[in-house]
Symmetry: C2
Subunit: 567 residues, 2 copies
Amino acid sequence: MTRLRNDPAEFADQLVDGFVAANATRVRRVPGGVVRVAEGAPGTVAIVTGGGSGHYPAFGGLVGTGMAHGAAMGNVFASPSARQVRSVARAVDNGAGVLFVFGRYAGDVLNFGQAEQRLIADGIPSRTVPVTDDVSVADREDPATRRGLAGGLAVIKLAAAAAEAGLTLEQVASVAERANARTRTIGVAFSGCTLPGASEPLFTVPEGRMAIGMGVHGEPGTEEQDVPSADEMAAILVRKVLEHAPIAGPARAAVLLNGLGAVKYEELFVVYREVARLLAEAGIELVEPEVGEFYTSFDMAGLSLSLVWLDEELEGYWRAPADSPGYRKTPSPAASADPAAGEAAHLDLEEAIPAATDASKAAAKRAAAAIEASRIAIDEAADELGRIDAIAGDGDHGIGMQRGITAAAAAAARAVDEGAGLGTTLRIAGDEWADKAGGTSGALWGVALYAAGSAFGDDEPRDAAKAVAAAVDAILGLGGAEVGDKTMVDALVPYRTAFADAVASGDADPWTTAARAADAAAKATADLKPRMGRARTHVERSLGTPDAGAISFALVVTTVAGVLAAS
Amino acid sequence: MTRLRNDPAEFADQLVDGFVAANATRVRRVPGGVVRVAEGAPGTVAIVTGGGSGHYPAFGGLVGTGMAHGAAMGNVFASPSARQVRSVARAVDNGAGVLFVFGRYAGDVLNFGQAEQRLIADGIPSRTVPVTDDVSVADREDPATRRGLAGGLAVIKLAAAAAEAGLTLEQVASVAERANARTRTIGVAFSGCTLPGASEPLFTVPEGRMAIGMGVHGEPGTEEQDVPSADEMAAILVRKVLEHAPIAGPARAAVLLNGLGAVKYEELFVVYREVARLLAEAGIELVEPEVGEFYTSFDMAGLSLSLVWLDEELEGYWRAPADSPGYRKTPSPAASADPAAGEAAHLDLEEAIPAATDASKAAAKRAAAAIEASRIAIDEAADELGRIDAIAGDGDHGIGMQRGITAAAAAAARAVDEGAGLGTTLRIAGDEWADKAGGTSGALWGVALYAAGSAFGDDEPRDAAKAVAAAVDAILGLGGAEVGDKTMVDALVPYRTAFADAVASGDADPWTTAARAADAAAKATADLKPRMGRARTHVERSLGTPDAGAISFALVVTTVAGVLAAS
């Protein structure tokens, strides 16, 4: 729904004020609408568009170099009057006449038609080209029964480029007519917009359903069905447009995938991915595609696909630069994409596996086994960790730990299979943990394993104390927490100290000794289940001391220690 | 809510595929994100941004000439991993080091920080500049506690322009730090987005309320209040930003009014109108303002205002051209707006009043009186006309007629006061009717009065039959309906014929004679109330024969006839 307005009766006028204020170097107001600040070249045809307000960038946002010379801006969803249209046209006439390009709606046809007659009476040659790209209401035999949708942007652009090329009014009109005859659009809607000041939406579609062919003002669709997957949506849009293809078989086409307001860019890109694949499959080469918002209906949830079947002349006009507040086309910095790019995209992020000593490979095996053992322990503890985290945090700690260590364990196993040493195995496991777990704790576990791996290296694994210190220091450095902040650091630091002391004192199993210290610091016992239970009670008593991260740490290191001690 | 997806786990990856497919001449994929197709100049600093997906055009859409060299694209609302960030940075390094510019969120701080360390270890000089423009969570004394919002676009752009100017990494970093230190943003939210695959919105705000300072991921706001008017909204945003102004008093500033997804362009323009006024009042000169969608949160309903206090160097960078898929800046075709434009905008559309004969002025008086009489008749009949129209149409005929004839009567009275003749008076009345009534019938009534006025002219009013015929023909020509189509034409044509016959046969009062014919054709009697009553009954019986338009016509012409006959 729309929310921001003053007096609804003033809405359309105030939006033009704001639009012009925000784009004062490009457009200026004239009675009835807006025109370019930069005047067209003398003796060239002026392109005037327009319609009801509420479809930005249509129509005022399409006024600029390489686009329309002016736009008559009506009230919300209401055609501008003939007088408004005439006023805008008189302001932009460069002495070569005016071509009106507008969507085919009854009010617009009446008013632009009347303005055309008055201009001719004024001695200004004029022509109208109503855009009729909506195939949903198309009688194949009678395109004049169609409505105008987002394809109008392309018709305006092609006509404007022809006008700037110096063509006569008749020639520009025939370019616009040819462009319109080669443009097809299909739209779908999930929900309607609520007009400024209205209490009810203009129309509704049942939740989980969509209307195919519904118009931007709520004109009824031709079919209704459940909301499909993004790929199925692409297939529906492409099929509907190709059913009405003006030219059978392979072709070159401009394409616009248009969001009507509340269907956002990310969704459009996911749909476009399949649209592009299907059109290529159909032998249609896409020329400078556009994915975004070109013809909206306030915050209506819907999208439309437009194709313009190009010929050589039209392709030249389509590629011509354009610069309007709502639509800009700049020369492509590259003729086409590096074909290898697609491949590169899916290259594995993992580094190559460097050579390692047998001792390091053996240690890597033990480390991978320890991580796998921890994965099992975390799996069992995940819900409990989530519950504990939910008391002090957002409750996703268990899931995050689970995602991270699962990925780390799998990566470590792969690395070991590929002959990685201890250092590389831990680095890869750390990176995978960070990638898959996401969030802060994921990054901290990742950097810890990565740092430990870097300290160990792939030669003889020695000086575990240095590796442990590196891991803990990395977390301290990156996380910035200190002992007493009620984070995993409360367990980390005692672990590091106990480990170093144990190594220094010749402890045969510094892992277990340090693990006990961490475990104690995390106020948890050696046995998982009761520990978690008591920890939770404790947490509930003391608002998050120790936090779930500290318990995870204790859990992981005690498990790791158990495996390493046993091996 | 978001609706279009395939496997939610694949969403982030598929949107990058589609984004790159749609912008293949500008961006290409690399492991971890996207980079420019056009490589940066050797020896220049590379700008790398990034963050979670779901904020388009942030962050991949900001990769391009004059903008970022690359963007690390994380999962939905999740920071990219250090490995992703490092991979993107290595792909764009031009030998002069890499500057990371990203919003200050824990995960991003960790991962970009870690990537920086790894790059330095790789021998690539690197710096990070977290953006901290969100004043809602600002401790004035400690900007480092702030989050990053839409102001990040400006920081990226300013840093990128500095990099392209050939500055060193240290210099570009200090430009970015200064830009960030001079950038302030405040956001408000009305409702949250639903992430792809999620069943519940990320957060909700009570209907009719808004949260001030709410973060784009649902981070809690600092205040909640009822949704204000557009002007009050502007006042709140401006006040909050100026409270945290880095520099007191007059200044030059870049401004971004950003829609978060479901608050659309028209609403933003209405708000911007007042934002610009208030900032000018505060002595802040706005440099190349931007109103649109720069940092979204899927279809979250909200908006944010960002100001960047410029100095001379920063203004130069802000004005520099930029060309990325989601943000382009082209040189302004004009240094500034024509100051007269604002005035011209509000000029009255009415034409000057040409000289007229006294006889014509007298006739104009009678015509104005007749239109005023019709206004009263229509006022009384408006609800009834609406009810009749609702049976066959959308029920707005009564309101439309009321708006139109009220405007026409007032315009006619003004014209008469200004000494207009009959022709000019009718033309002005017709134009006003069309402007204010809108819709098809408004256009038809407008063209009819305009045509009649043109036929009468401002000299001796003679040949009323010609004027009546002109009015009727204009409606027939514009509307395209024929007798029997159950439109007002069913009453118009008999009126025209009867009028011509009456004039030819020397009828003293052709008006009333013709009105009776129209009235009869409209199956309505001479007395309003019973006529309307019977007409409704009739309509209910026969599904819209005669239609409300025909009754309006009969009503108006009989009233007009009454007045003219009496005068």
